[in-house]
Each structure stands twice: as structure tokens, then as C-alpha cells.
Symmetry: C2
């Protein structure tokens, strides 16, 4: 621990979908000294590779050079804001599973001449969905381990993506000595050592403590060569630990000291937990963006139907970390504003303001509407991308603010369903602690979430929560603090806003939620398959 | 029958909700010589009486002086367009049940000083809904006759309204020597004789041939004084018959010949049947406006669940006339245009044009959406005002033209459900023949109706169908033709446009309709009561 008055800083770098963001944190005051953003030059490769090779539907790739360029730019900027020798640690968080094949030295295959025009050689971004059929095959296998992953693996996760490369581009598969997460790859660049994260391995590669990665015998049943993936992985390391020291090349490029501690990487959403100051069970961390991610700590190890994953030490050492989610969240209201309200009210911002004002005047139940929040499918509890949104209760007196409020309420009902799924599985949720762009912007939604869930919703008021979390892990890894817990207590959120349930709203929302739940079970729980059929007819048309 | 070359005209006057319309028809050519509209000075009295007395919610009254003023103005205009002595008949159609209490001489009680400030003394317009609780009591009685009225009487019909007056204003009830439909009251004014119409009596007062009005013994079970209503009615007369001759006072006011034939009145929707040239079973007449009314002739007398009414000779002498309906039809698309699209596309007309163009480019199923057309409740088959609209299949790629097309499709699915309700009851429907404002304007909808129902949709291209029909009944009553059938053949629609089903659309709509029907049965058929609960929560909020 530094002496009082001796400044100690850490850097957190958050690799997102379109850009990377850095924060430089004062580890004692918990203040963000500076922050910067660097957009990826190539963005998301969805239509074609940089050389023009076109991509099929559902592909989403990134360019590893973009990551490196942003990393260099951001580290340089952070270094200019403090004495370089007082910057004691670097933490990395990254979207996940963002998977790339590399040589044994960590060179991305896509940067080699021979594989440059081959889509499967490029990093598959988390939202690359072209591996769905491999996920389907894994899910049809009756694999017992999936009980700890909500019953299904995802097309977004490691095994589906690895299998896609194996099956569709076997030469690339065989040329790949390593298959590695983007976050772990960045750590490798900075330290010269391949150090995998328990977070990425646990949530995305089905690694479980005591069990390790999936068994070769099981993988062989899926495809005879799939066990070869195991040799391209490596055992994961704990969060908040030192992965290695900054190599001289990166010290030279950035002005940082050689040997500066680099922490094990972490998934972006998961890094938010210490950032919002959560270090104990019972507080649900909800990261509210276009989608919502829910994280919960517990001392219990449970296989809970509908919960996307549980990993021991996967978020905070000493706890089982649980993950759930709503695939559609802020994007539902954004959809309504973009497709309807923006041109009605003179732009998206004006529409957002106007609808928020008018929706805030409505009482619970007054809209007469109820919506299912599945515009982009449902993760918890149904893990079903073929589900879709619905609105019921429409009449000739329905006006846009009614619809807008019903969409906010639907998102909150979805969050209550997540909580009930946790509680039905044996984990209690006392309080919800929120961060993310939608939490920063949509305070009406936070009050509705409190009213709908009957729980305090605490707005952590943390900007750049993922990068802040990465800097917290770095502070533990650099031994500025004795643990991630301690670092989180000192550097995590402190100026909170609490939204308490308005008592007269609670029974009305209880009644509405009972209807939401019945509709959800009817359309999502297997009784009606109309949503799937509509998608099929749409594809066929 | 007039000699060839001898001109013979009839006048049809259509009393609507906000205005009355007249047509002067050349009975030989079937051409509309002239047409005129006269708005009611007081419109619909929904908030207060003319003297300022305020009205409770759900009330809707009219002023009888408005009817008389419009009648005089319109008859004068028609008379100026032809030789008055060649105008041989006057036909009246009217909204129904529009009920007023009068003295034995036909003087409306509301025009008497003592009752002028009393709401119950005024004509209750068809859409007066404040008698709902009396309708509920009648429906709870288990009355066997209701099997011929879709299982329920309506708050809009005679018995609920009469009971409301009896219970809430007994002095007015006792002062009313007559309770009479607006159309019959106009005939009384013109002829000096109270001649009731079989159409209004049959569909709205539950009069049935051979059985007459409801039995006193049954009515007494509902309320001891309800049988007294029977003494305020009188036996109905056939359609296309002469109710009487024009009295001298009205001849003087209008320039028409004294003694000019005045036909028995008819309900506005029902008058459309001869106007569109339908005189036989198997052709469903669909009057498409804000709501849709469906009329079908048959030689069979059947009690069909979900069909609103069957009356022998109720539309055309010699046939059983069946009535069904969609409470929400054009008002659904109008709702979307008004609340959303108008301000998006620069006005309602521009929005209608733009959405129609874009929706026409979509293939069946391409929207991925399905809607239930119950924005204003459902008449056929569920007879349930507490039902509401829904849209399912919403995704982040849903755009306004998708929604607009889904709403058109929902209206067409509702029409298919009406047809299937008829067919399940034993009546076949070979063809659909349409008229009304929405048919005139929305040709895309007509094609979708053909594709969805798999039947030819014939656009009768008749403007002012109700008034035209009234003039046709008048031609029969004046014995210009030997029957309504013959008059309809000569004066009804002749220049038709046929929309034939596009064969590749039919199977896709069959699949979508199967889903529509399942959803309808789930939400309307009693399995789920979420729509009713949402309305309750809305009222309580």
C-alpha cells in the first residue's frame, strides 16, 4: 500500500465494440484523473474484410491492429496526465467472447499474408452470430455442464466459434496454435506472456474450477477434432492478479515504466461490479445499455435454470459470480424513438425529452398497455433469440407517451423476471445497483425499476464503469491494495442516488407484472410458438 | 312501372351521426342525379344538453330539430333538381338504435318545456353507451332468444336503452307514450303515421317474425315495469313498402307533391345491400368505414354463435338477413396515421399515401408482425368491448410500413373470421362485395382482403350507398318496380372492380391467419383475460 500522500495511479482500458476508452485513476481518492476515447479505424467488419473480401450474413469481425493502435494512443494520453513512475498498474477489460486464432508467438493469423483474405482467420467479435448452427449442435447434445450456463451455450461463445473455424476452415484451425480472447491477447502483447483470464474462460469457454475446460471425450462426440481446441487454450489466472510486467517495447512506445504491473484481463460487463462498489452477495449489479447485463455474487454454487453462467472467482475472488441478461433493453426505447418519435418531435433528443416528460405524468396502469421486452430475443430466462416484442392493450385512445412508458415498464418487468429467476434458484436480491449509458440518461426508468421490483435502485453514478473496474483490478494486481475487495471499497462508487419504490405504485405493478409473467410464459415458455413462426415466415417471404 | 322514357325519380335520405345526406336517383338509369349533405347544427351531444345541463360519461344524444332541419333543407335541394311531380318516392335510412321518447302524437319529450333539461328525454344515439349495465343484466338472464343475436344484447340496442330510461327517469318513462327509432320518427313526421320498420325492430328490439317483440312475462322478470315498453312500440312493417303519403305540411315546405310515397325506414348499413346490387345469398356485403358491418342473405333460419343478428325479411323481403361486424376497422389505420404517421410524414393524407406505397411493396409475412384488430373491442365472434388491440413480432428492424401493413392485414383477418363464423354456422360466402369510405379510399386493403380470404373482393364503386339504398326501397314502395329485388337490379351497382386473390399470397396468409386465429382464441375466447384486466387497471389508475 502506498504511503499516505504518495500518489499512486492505475490505468483501466476498456475495449468496446466500436472504440476503446481509458481512465487514469487516483487509487487513493478514487477519482478519475483523466479519460479518453479512441475509435477503431475499421469499426466492426460486417460486410467485408479490409481487402474487400465480402462476408456472409451474421458475421462480425474486428481488426487486431485497431486494438493495438488504440491501446498505444490511450496509454500515451494517460501517461501524459501523471508522473509515469506513479502509474503502478494497467488493467484491461474487453468484450467477450471475442476470439482470434494466432501463432504460438501470438501473431494473429489474419495479419499473415496467406490468411489475410480468409474471414475465419480474423477476430470474431462477441456479436458474430454465424456460428449458431454449432451452438445448436452443442445444445442438442444433452451436455450436463450446460446446467451451469442456463441450459444452453451461445453462438457468441468460444466453443461454437472454435467449431465454426474447425469445420469451415480446417487449415486455419490447424495453423492456429492458440485460440485466444481479445482481452487475453492484449495482456500478451503488453507482457509478452500468454495469461488467460478466469473470467473469460469461465463464462465463455465453459471452464469450471475443479473441472477445467470441457472434457476431451465429450468434445470428441461432437466432432473428432474438436478436442484439439484444448491444446490451443491454457489454464486461467485469477482476477486482480499480476499477469506480468510491461515489456520494454511498450514502455518505449508509451512512456510508462518497463515492468509496470499488467493485470489479468476481465470481461467488460464484469469489470463494472467493483466499479459500482459491490463486493458482497445480495446486490444485483445491472449494467444498462442497449442490452442489460446482470451480475450477482454469492457464496453458493448453484445450477439455476435461465441464468447464463456461474463461475467461481469469475468476478470477485472468493465468490461465485452469476451472470444473467436482457438482450433487449435500451434498444427498445431507442427503437421507438428512432423509428417513430424522432420525426414526430423534431429529432431523437427532443423526442426522448418530450416522451420522458409525458410518460412521467402517467400513473402505473394508466397506459392500459403491457409489452414483452423481447425486441431482440430473450436471454434470461428463455435463452431464445427467436422471441420477439409485443404490445397488448392498444385502443383508439393510445398515444405515443403511453407506448413509450409501456416500453420502459417492459424493460423493468424483464429485470424483475431476472431477479425472480435468481430467487427461484436460491439467491436473494436485496437491492439493484445500476450503471451504464441508459442508467446515466434515463432516470424515469430507474424509478419505474424501483416501483416494479419493489427494491431500491441505486444509481452508482459511475461514468466509464468498465474502465474504472479494470483500473481497480489493476490496483489489486499492483498490490496498491491487498485485494480487489479493498480496492473496490476505496476506488468504487461513492456518490450514489437511491430510487426507492413509491409505495402506491407497487401493488399496481404487482398486478401488471403478474400479467407480464403469464404472457411471457405463454409466448416464451413453449405453449405458443407464434413468435418463431413469424420469424420463419419473414425469412421465407 | 313507368313508361319507357318517362322519367321517374326517388329520393334517399341517409341520417348519419354528424350529418344527413340525400341522393336523387333516376330510377331507370340508376344514376345519382344530384346529392347533398346537411350537417346537424348540434352534432352529437356528448358533454351537455343545448341548455348547458352536463351529461355523464358514455352518453351520446342527438337533437330531433337537427334532423327536421336537415330533412327540409335536403328535400328542397333534391326537389330543385327534378320535376317535383316526377319524384315518386322518398326513402329514409337512419343510424340505429337511435331511440327517442315521444307523446302519442309523436312530439319528442325533450322538446317539451318540462323535460327539456332532462337527459333521458333526448334521443339516445346508437353510440350512447351509458346503458351498459342494463345490457349486462339482460345478458345475465339466460334469455334463449339471444341465440339469434350472437348470444348478447348490446348496450346500443333498444331494451338496454328503454330500461335505462325506466330505471333512471321513471317520470319520463311514464310520460313517453311511444319509444321510437329516429328513422321511424322521420317517417311519422312525413306521413303523419307511426309506421315502424321491420329492420330496426328486428335487429335492435329483438322482434322476430312469428314471435313478435319479447314476451311480457320474460320482461317482467327483469323489471316489473319493463313490460310497459311493449305498449310504447307497434308492430313492424315490411321494407320496400309504402308507409304513407307525404302530408301537406311537408309538401308545402319542400315543393314535393302531397301524397308522395314515403317508404318504411331502414337501418343505414342495411340499406347498402340493394345499393351494391346484392339480392341473393352467398355474397357478403361489407360496409367498410371506421367500423365494418357485414350483411348476408340466406333462405335458412339459423342461430349462429357470434353473429349479431338474424331477422326474417330484415334486409330484403323473402330472405333471412344476417348481420355481423368488426367494431374496429378503418379506425385502426386512422389511429396509426393520426397518432404516429401524420407528424412523421407531413400530414395525414401524405402519411396515408406514403405508408400505402411502402406497405404495398412488402410481401405477405415480410413484416414479421401479426396484429389483433380489436382496438375498439370485438363484435364478431366474441361480442366483447373489453378486448383490445395487440401487435406481436416486433423487432429492432420493424419500421412504420411494417406496422401499417400488419394493421391492414389484421382488419382482413377479422373479416376472414367473420366469414368463418358464418360458414361454421352453415352459411356459405362465395364473394365479398364492399362499399363505404374505406373501400373507396384504400385499394391496397381490398387486395389484402382478397388474398387473406381467398375470395374475390368486388368493389361496388357505389358512393353514398346507404342513401342510394334508401332510394331503391322507395322505388319499390312507390311501385316503380315490382319488388326491392327488381329495383336493386336496376338501380344498384353496375361498374365494379374485382380484386382477385393473388395465388402465391394465399398460402402465406393461410399460415398467418392460423396464428391470428390461435391468438384470437387465446385472448378473446376466454383463456386469457389480460385485456380485460388492463382495462380495469386503466380505469382504476
Amino acid at each position: 500500500m502506498p504511503e499516505r500522500g504518495t500518489m499512486a495511479y492505475t490505468i483501466g482500458i476498456d475495449f468496446g465494440t466500436e472504440s476503446a476508452r481509458a481512465v487514469l485513476m487516483d487509487t487513493e481518492s478514487g477519482e478519475q484523473v483523466t479519460t479518453a476515447v479512441s475509435r477503431y479505424r475499421h469499426g466492426v467488419l460486417e460486410r467485408s474484410l479490409p481487402d474487400g473480401t465480402s462476408l456472409p450474413q451474421d458475421w462480425a469481425l474486428q481488426h487486431p491492429q485497431d486494438w493495438v493502435d488504440s491501446l498505444e494512443e490511450l496509454l500515451q494520453q494517460m501517461t501524459r496526465a501523471a508522473q509515469p513512475d506513479r502509474i503502478l498498474g494497467i488493467g484491461i477489460d474487453f468484450t467477450s467472447c471475442t476470439l482470434l486464432p494466432t501463432t504460438s508467438e501470438g501473431r494473429p493469423l489474419c495479419l499473415l499474408e496467406e490468411f489475410h483474405a480468409r474471414p475465419h482467420a480474423w477476430p470474431m467479435l462477441w456479436k458474430h452470430h454465424a456460428a449458431q448452427k454449432y451452438a445448436d449442435r452443442i445444445n442438442a447434445s444433452g451436455w450436463d455442464l450446460l446446467a451451469y450456463y442456463g441450459g444452453k451455450t451461445s453462438s457468441e461463445w468460444l466453443w461454437a466459434k472454435a467449431w465454426q473455424i474447425l469445420e469451415e476452415a480446417p487449415d486455419i484451425f490447424h495453423a492456429a496454435d492458440r485460440l485466444i480472447e481479445g482481452g487475453d491477447w492484449i495482456v500478451w502483447q503488453l507482457t509478452g506472456q500468454e495469461v488467460r483470464s478466469i473470467c473469460q474462460a469461465g463464462y465463455k469457454a465453459h471452464w469450471q474450477k475443479g473441472r477445467g475446460y470441457p472434457e476431451a471425450a465429450f468434445l470428441a462426440q461432437l466432432h473428432p477434432n474438436l478436442p484439439q481446441v484444448l491444446a490451443k487454450l491454457s489454464p486461467p489466472h485469477p482476477l486482480g492478479s499480476r499477469a506480468g510486467g510491461l515489456v520494454s517495447a511498450w514502455a518505449n512506445r508509451t512512456g510508462l515504466r518497463e515492468g509496470t504491473t499488467v493485470a489479468t484481463a476481465v470481461i467488460d460487463a464484469h469489470a463494472s461490479v467493483p466499479a459500482v462498489g459491490v463486493t458482497e452477495p445480495g446486490v444485483l449489479v445491472a449494467i444498462l445499455g442497449t442490452s442489460a447485463c446482470h451480475l450477482l455474487l454469492s457464496e453458493k454454487y448453484l445450477a439455476i435454470p435461465g441464468i447464463s453462467g456461474v463461475v467461481e472467482d469469475g468476478i470477485l475472488p472468493g465468490f461465485y459470480g452469476y451472470e444473467a441478461g436482457q438482450v433487449s433493453f435500451g434498444d427498445i426505447f431507442e427503437w421507438y424513438v428512432r423509428t417513430h418519435a424522432a420525426s414526430m418531435y423534431g429529432g431523437e433528443e427532443a423526442a426522448f425529452q418530450k416522451l420522458t416528460r409525458e410518460a412521467a405524468r402517467l400513473k402505473p396502469g394508466e397506459s392500459g398497455l403491457l409489452a414483452l421486452d423481447w425486441w431482440n430475443g430473450c436471454r434470461t430466462p428463455y435463452v431464445d433469440a427467436s422471441l420477439s416484442g409485443m404490445i397488448i392493450g392498444l385502443t383508439l385512445t393510445t398515444e405515443p407517451p403511453h407506448i413509450y412508458r409501456a416500453l420502459l415498464e417492459a424493460a423493468a418487468f424483464g429485470t424483475r423476471r431476472v431477479i425472480e429467476t435468481f430467487e427461484a434458484g436460491g439467491l436473494s436480491v436485496e437491492e439493484i445497483r445500476v450503471c451504464g449509458g441508459v442508467a446515466e440518461r434515463n432516470k424515469l426508468l430507474l424509478q419505474i425499476m424501483a416501483d416494479v421490483t419493489g427494491r431500491d435502485v441505486v444509481d452508482a453514478n459511475v461514468l466509464h464503469a468498465s474502465a474504472t473496474g479494470a483500473a481497480i483490478y489493476a490496483a489489486a494486481a499492483a498490490e496498491i491494495y491487498g485485494s480487489v475487495h479493498e480496492a473496490a471499497k476505496r476506488m468504487g462508487s461513492r456518490k450514489e442516488t437511491v430510487y426507492r419504490p413509491i409505495q402506491e405504485h407497487v401493488p399496481v405493478y404487482d398486478a401488471l407484472y403478474a400479467e407480464y409473467r403469464r404472457l411471457a410464459e405463454y409466448f416464451g415458455g413453449g405453449t405458443s410458438d407464434v413468435m418463431r413462426k413469424l420469424r420463419q415466415l419473414r425469412v421465407l417471404s
